[in-house]
């Protein structure tokens, strides 16, 4: 224990030194353990410098885009840094109506309204049956879903395109919704299965004895009990589906009126190359990312848990 006390007091001394001295200079040699202490201080300064540097790296580009969205296009070209001279939202109106960002956002929202509840419902239905009933083929169904997490979507995309075409689902809203649900099912089912397995069975048993049907037990007993898991996987699917770029690009790219937000932004960036309207591009990006970032900052703990849960399982 004495070692630790010495270290603490030595640190105290260094802190005093530093208030007078320049940061980073070797501290006055303390009698106790100077080597470790000096190491501690340099490491500390060094680590904080790196941490701050990465804050600039991570948030800098996003802040830069947001600030520039308030500047005039003619000002942006050639001088990337600068504050807006006057407060005008012209870029935003341009992006919203001329570049159709508003319409694309609405399209994305419509898709999400169908696909997210659908994914959650179908995923937890399958997961519940797999987790709580023994029947022949249980294992097969489980492996079918779990295996789907491994292989890359890109391999299936060409045949999927023609399967969708055959069912007349190509370039339709319900087609995209079904594709989103299908490709979100593996992870949702996998995650919810392990969640349902952790729930106690006695409550459901009591409900069955009281005469509740299986369906009723599921909707009124088990789903409310699985709420923490549903929130995690819901956040995961929300972001995954809202941010999806590849599936709409392959399955929904003929009719520009039905394009989703991610497609619209990619399109806007291509057009910007011809027209040089940086302002509208940055405004479009801001419209697309600001709501997500705000929601994330409010629910940051849940979002971080929801997204990292995917990698740990």
């Amino acid at each position: 224990m004495s070692g630790e006390i010495q270290v603490t007091s030595a640190t105290q001394r260094t802190r005093d030194d530093r208030s007078a001295d320049v940061v980073g200079k070797a501290p006055a040699p303390a009698p106790a353990k100077p080597a470790r202490d000096a190491q501690g201080v340099t490491l500390n300064v060094f680590s904080n410098a790196f941490l701050v540097l990465w804050v600039v790296m991570a948030a800098g580009p996003l802040v830069w885009v947001m600030v520039n969205s308030l500047r005039e296009s003619s000002d942006i070209t050639g001088s990337p840094f600068g504050w807006p001279t006057s407060l005008s939202f012209e870029n935003f109106t341009n992006a919203w109506s001329d570049a159709n960002i508003g319409k694309y956002a609405l399209n994305s929202l419509i898709i999400l309204c169908g696909s997210l509840p659908g994914t959650m419902l179908l995923g937890s239905m399958a997961a519940y049956v797999i987790a709580r009933f023994t029947f022949r083929g249980n294992r097969v169904v489980y492996m079918l879903f779990a295996g789907g997490m491994m292989f890359p979507i890109i391999l299936a995309v060409v045949p999927l395109f023609f399967v969708m075409d055959n069912f007349a689902l190509l370039d339709t809203r319900h087609g995209i919704i079904l594709a989103y649900i299908a490709y979100s099912l593996p992870f949702t089912t996998f995650f919810m299965t392990s969640f349902f397995r952790t729930l106690p069975g006695s409550v459901a048993e009591a409900a069955l004895i009281d005469g509740a049907s299986h369906t009723r037990t599921f909707f009124q007993i088990m789903l409310p009990m699985a709420k923490p898991g549903l929130i995690s996987i819901g956040i995961f699917n929300f972001l995954g589906q809202w941010n999806q770029y590849f599936l709409p690009l392959a399955l929904n790219s003929t009719d520009p009126d039905k394009a989703l937000l991610t497609q619209g932004l990619a399109e806007l960036s291509v057009n910007q190359g011809y027209e040089g309207d940086w302002g509208a591009l940055f405004a479009g990006l801001t419209i697309a990312m600001l709501p997500i970032l705000l929601v994330y900052m409010v629910f940051q703990r849940q979002v971080q848990e929801g997204l990292t849960a995917g990698a740990v399982k």
């Binding site: 079918l144 879903f145 391999l155 060409v158 969708m164 999806q244 997500i292 970032l293 990698a311």
Partner: protein, 358 residues
């Protein structure tokens, strides 16, 4: 066998001869079958009071609940996946419904396809470098957040002040769409209006300014950087959580033994969270092999200049949807799957060690 418990147990509980048993008729079976497909409220009276109703009810529930998810999944995910193997053996263009079986021709053609090899080379570069860089920096930042702070009283390790703030900011790229990230970084790399060149100009490093994405020598590095940039925050959060669950007294013991912080990191922290690192590595490798959206949105002509940033998924997409060679494209996809499998298998072998419980 005579005193086998199971035998004794099953004998009396077998189907007891029912005295009033009617012979199950064909109509009964029809009724049962109908019950399976009808909603519960339409269950016929005779079935409902049957001895076997509970089992029937269970299977009816299972069928109904599994039907929609499994059918949807089988049609849109499983069947395209298996069709891909078949189409990879055909010369299908994708535009017409006519095609013929060509065996392994597509795979042979791949051997001489320099564009394909360029794409594989770039994908492998991403597969090897991106996880190393991302996980390395992620571990570094996570350890700094967790143990980089000054020693405080009675604490073996202490996080830096504002660790939570750092984590929130680092995680920003993870909640944004790859499409947004691709467009933002496209603007960042812009030679005239992009801030990177502007910073270099301001710092007096005029000679370092580049037309980043148009220079075939560095365009791939730009893609690699963005890929790492996207995921570092994710790994900082993941590893911080893992490090946070390591008991503090282990660190205390290391400190009392005189371990420096680098030693603590390599000898204590890293081995204890190795499972998380390993899973994260596989996940990042799969993400690196997929780097479709960034390349497709950010780079010149999706994979240019030349083939300098062409990655295999982008090549597949171009072959399938731009040049109408669906059969060949699926063959490329099969090779991509094999690369993914090999990577996963190598990583699994790599991890043959005991799990540490704490």
């Amino acid at each position: 066998m005579a005193n086998d418990v199971r035998a004794v147990d099953t004998e009396p509980t077998g189907p007891a001869p029912r005295k009033d048993a009617r012979r199950a008729s064909f109509g009964d079976y029809l009724l049962f079958a109908a019950t399976l497909v009808l909603p519960p409220r339409f269950t016929p009276e005779r079935v409902r009071y049957d001895r076997r109703y509970r089992t029937l009810d269970k299977y009816r529930f299972i069928c109904w609940f599994l039907l929609a998810p499994v059918v949807l999944y089988a049609v849109l995910v499983i069947s395209p996946f298996f069709q891909a193997f078949y189409y990879s053996l055909t010369d299908w263009s994708g535009f017409s419904s006519e095609f013929s079986f060509v065996g392994l021709d597509n795979y042979e053609r791949m051997l001489d396809d320099s564009d394909f090899w360029a794409s594989v080379k770039n994908s492998l570069l991403l597969l090897i470098v991106a996880p190393l860089a991302t996980l390395g920096l992620g571990l570094f930042f996570a350890f700094m957040l967790q143990a980089g702070g000054r020693h405080r009283k009675s604490e073996a390790i202490s996080g830096v002040r504002g660790a939570k703030f750092y984590k929130v900011v680092y995680f920003f790229p993870q909640v944004l769409s790859v499409a947004i990230i691709g467009v933002v970084w496209g603007a960042m790399y812009d030679p005239i209006t992009g801030p990177i060149n502007e910073v270099l100009r301001t710092a007096g490093l005029e000679s370092w300014t580049q037309n980043w994405l148009a220079n075939p020598d560095i365009a791939m590095l730009c893609v690699l950087f963005v890929l790492c940039w996207m995921f570092i925050g994710f790994y900082v959060v993941l590893f911080s959580a893992a490090m946070g669950s390591v008991p503090k007294d282990i660190y205390e013991a290391a400190l009392l033994d005189g371990a420096s912080r680098p030693t603590t990191f390599f000898r204590v922290t890293l081995p204890l969270i190795w499972d998380t690192v390993h899973t994260g590595w596989i996940y990042m490798g799969i993400q690196a092999l997929d780097a479709f959206a960034i390349v497709h949105i950010m780079t010149i002509n999706a994979g240019g200049p030349g083939n300098s940033t062409l990655v295999t998924p982008v090549y597949l997409y171009k072959k399938a949807f731009d040049s109408g060679q669906a059969g060949y494209a699926t063959a490329v996809g099969v090779v991509l799957l094999i690369i993914t499998m090999i990577f996963a298998a190598v990583m699994m072998l790599f991890n043959r060690r005991e799990r540490i419980e704490y």
